[in-house]
Symmetry: D2
Subunit: 346 residues, 4 copies
């Protein structure tokens, strides 16, 4: 049995857990001032080639999105995103809870089309009644998207340009950033730091027990961030818990942060899974995803049998006889598990 239901059905990468154990006896400051968090910040700044970056550690993804979006937007501003965006669909209204409208544009395999974004903005600013509408303050994208797809470097640059032109912030939700960086041919952490105004490096789904690292690459976070974060209930007293984990994730192994290796392994296994599904089983991809989330169209009469060997998630019906299903690898998936899957006559 291989568990591909999600990338948060596991514990932590053993290096992360080991670092928690080996630092356990030390006493530290709290509320973000601990030495582990400081060290992790230095490592992230280096990996991002962003020496001025300001970094905060929060506990989870929805919390991070709602807190950061509310912290950087003006009260009367909303956030633009693809209609399939996590903040628009699967955060139970956490952004609206902070008083901001989520303005959804059409999604193309999970992605915003730059041209449509530009057209929306042109129309908004040409509208005589714009003052009566929610002002756009930010563009939110996920990298990779909820459907596993990736923006190219060119697309990110175009989004960056549009945002600059219209005075919007570009925010990248990197809940699965490790997998996106591993799969992208041209998007790197330094490029992301260059093109976005704020982004977060996901820990929970990429090897940590919990925790996300919010990065303001240009060091221009709003003042009083500690108070703002605490007001959202998102300030960890024992901040070291996330700091220690990110220290482990950004410790270099063979010349690169562990975080990168984690992403690469999961993507490699995802590609092996893809071969197995497409070439061997003859399943069609539902979405052409290069990352750790894989979506295939499964004949309904195969589902039962498949469930005996694989834990997965039903995504949506395709037609009367087929169902789209999601299969997610992670740092916790092993080569052996994928190999065994291949050996089975499933």
């Amino acid at each position: 049995m291989i568990h591909l239901e999600s990338d948060y059905n596991n514990g932590a990468h053993e290096a992360v857990l080991r670092h928690l154990v080996e630092t356990n006896e030390e006493r530290t400051q709290s509320y973000g001032d601990d030495c582990f968090s400081e060290q992790a910040r230095a490592m992230i700044r280096e990996a991002c080639e962003a020496p001025d970056a300001q970094i905060w550690f929060l506990a989870g993804g929805t919390q991070t999105n709602a807190t950061i979006i509310d912290c950087v937007l003006q009260p009367y501003e909303g956030v633009l995103c693809a209609e399939t965006a996590h903040i628009n669909v699967h955060e139970a209204g956490a952004v609206e809870f902070t008083g901001h409208k989520v303005i959804a544009l059409p999604a193309h395999e999970g992605k915003l089309a730059v041209g449509e974004l530009r057209a929306w903005l042109t129309a908004y600013y040409a509208d005589d009644t714009a003052e009566h509408m929610v002002r756009p303050g930010m563009v939110y994208i996920t990298f990779p998207t909820e459907l596993g797809t990736l923006y190219t470097a060119d697309e990110l640059m175009a989004l960056h340009e549009v945002c600059k032109q219209y005075g919007l912030l570009l925010y990248v939700d990197g809940a699965r950033l490790a997998y996106g960086l591993a799969a992208s041919p041209d998007v790197t952490l330094p490029l992301l730091a260059q093109l976005s105004d704020v982004f977060y490096i996901g820990g929970t789904k990429c090897g940590a027990l919990c925790g996300e690292a919010v990065v303001f690459p240009n060091g221009d976070a709003p003042i009083h961030m500690l108070s703002r974060i605490k007001r959202h209930g998102a300030l960890l007293a024992k901040s070291r818990v996330v700091g220690v984990q990110f220290e482990a994730l950004f410790t270099k192994v063979n010349g690169e942060p562990l975080y990168m290796a984690i992403g690469r392994q999961a993507v490699t296994l995802a590609m092996q899974l893809r071969s197995l599904f497409v070439e061997r089983m003859g399943y069609q991809p539902f979405i052409d995803s290069p990352t750790n989330q894989q979506f295939y169209i499964i004949p309904n009469d195969n589902l039962e049998r498949l469930r005996k060997s694989i834990g997965f998630e039903v995504w949506c019906p395709v037609d009367e006889c087929h169902t789209a299903c999601r299969f997610v690898t992670s740092w916790a998936t092993t080569e052996e598990e994928i190999e065994n899957l291949g050996l089975k006559a499933f």
Copy 2:
């Protein structure tokens, strides 16, 4: 050097950490449905003698207070508390952020006086303009309080009575509950479960890396709690992280949950510290606290010397020559550390 600055300057109790390690390989459900969380819930229900209790695991204290208070109050209701209450002073307005007024009454060594509460409620309901005022919906207390003090079982019963009479919920913030239960002569977990409508068992300050367990002892939490919690950004995807820890904390050791032993040890050491400070050093208590937070009046010219052996927190000036300081033991404090302190001619 002994670190008594706080009870969140450490890692986790070794049994908690060990359980994280030994469960790391297992794959589980997420969002609270994992088997560890389920097991931890069963253990907590048993410890509370509350078989119908509903339990949720959240990441931190301020988050828990703001989320739960907002979830159970009607929109137009406020929460009554002592003016020194954590939600009134040190949560950066997290409760007000959710739209509710914090109504502060006088504090007596950190505690609400039942008589004053009753008088306030009588006056409120006699006021012709009550409809124009924030309606009282809840009484919030901390056990132990921010000053280390404890309500007696009689006081809790009286608060419970007043709440019942006026239709208010009684909510107990148990961030340091282990220490309170260990120090109280008559308040037990089952009694707390009997007298309160909702309370939380603090993990972060009592042996866990992070996490708090919210308990509705009567199983009458509002519907759709998962959606409500997620809307507050407080739902952990990898819920097992807290579940595993509480499973460890409520595993029985010598016939009682580890959680109780953790509290007792810290309180025992706090009492040894007290002897040292009062009898040996001649310091006066600033507050007569029976729990792990100890407050002493230190002559200003002793402060420098004290800092060489002890990490502690300045609380507030007392007079021109004296300062009240806080010394906090925890599960992480060792007998050896306290003994060594006694050996020093500080």
Copy 3:
């Protein structure tokens, strides 16, 4: 010059103003308890054939929408509406300010399609991740819509059915209700009261200086409405100001409330305008609106000349040579003004 820019560019219907003058000397209760408000409520109950109706008077439309939607929704619920709905476009995020998501469905000439609504609800309730999404709590429609169109009685009944089936409230924004009722062949005030859970009768655009009447036809408004409304800053101290005006608007003239006559006159004049534009000038309707808001496609080289005789609003470009424009009649438009317009060779 005839002013057809909007139906809020005027003062008040002379009967409304006269009633303000003739009641000016009387002293009354405040906060909704004045005798004028009481009398107006009785008149509205009668006109709605809803003897149990609860009625509140608020000052303006956006305030009413945001206040009422927030008062009746549970915190975790959102409101479904057409993407062109006022709350989705032109209220500057007032609903999201109260913490609720506005869930926009496709609009068909300003209207929700019942089938699409039902399909959305079916999909929502079939979705395994529904708990992570904003729950639907209400369907919001405008009658007439922002484009002047009307739901038929059959369509309203179908919406009512869907709402009942899925436990949603049906809320009707009647900012221009007088004009909608006048133009509809089959929707009456009693029918509206029967089919909706809450609706408001617009005053500001239908003859009053200011004020809207919120009606809960079944008398099942949430408790503590006065406190809820005040919390939204929407409670008028001098409540009589709106009460007196609605008393005038619902005073019967020739056997029917003045409100109905106001609507009918404006619609009659709108139809005369339509004849003029379509038959005489040869303009095409942009939208086929039977109410007081009329939309025509004007050749761009006619715009300048038109502006000399008529005040109107540019709606949106149609093609390179044509522009859609809005022309709005109201109770304040006179037959003479429309006749004069016809006499001009514009």
Copy 4:
């Protein structure tokens, strides 16, 4: 029978009503751009000797307080006020609804003591945990206070100094400003405009049907005020309704705005009432108020008889045999009414 229950139990001053009638036929812009609002703004700027003042017209007092406080505060800031302040007691939590804490300091006959304010601020900024607390962003005072008392020019200057020193905004709630200015020996509208950062000139209680004028005397309101106000549901579509009324209130009569005369007459009559009560009836003042709200200690066995001639409000019990009662004059109170009262052997 004389009605002294409140100053919002009446209609409008006849000059206000007359101006509504005489402007009724004109067509105007909406949303604040109408010519009446523009003219009223010019008059208010002149009366305030504040040529750069920005002015918005809102419908009511609680709405104005909640909207303006939220618009000018940073999200993490709270508002300091006397514990008897309207926003702290009688606005049903409207400020907290917008997410801001109301921080109450002791009240002295309804007033903040500058020394206590300064001491609070000194303590706040000396506190190591200040970042975990709500930051002070504004001082809110009422002029006159809820108890009818007045700050002297010196007190206002001292408050202004403290606010400047600590970077706080000074906001003056002038719901009853006409009566305050009339009674104050040294506070004028220009002085108020000089010393406060934002204040509002109350219309509802001072001669208008409804409406308050918010003044930023230095023209430094936050950007996008129209969007902000609309987001709070506080933007009037038919803005002229308040504009026309303020035009009437600030039209000069005998060389001064009508608003001043309205205040003076009510205060004159309040002083006659005072003579009657104190000298003739022998009642003790409960509060020594120089304005239109008068508070007297009435023997309980007089209450019944008094109620036959006077409408008034019970304020609070004083002792077993006495009750404090409030008697409010307004622009609508007549000399004749007060004289008649004197003639009665009540």
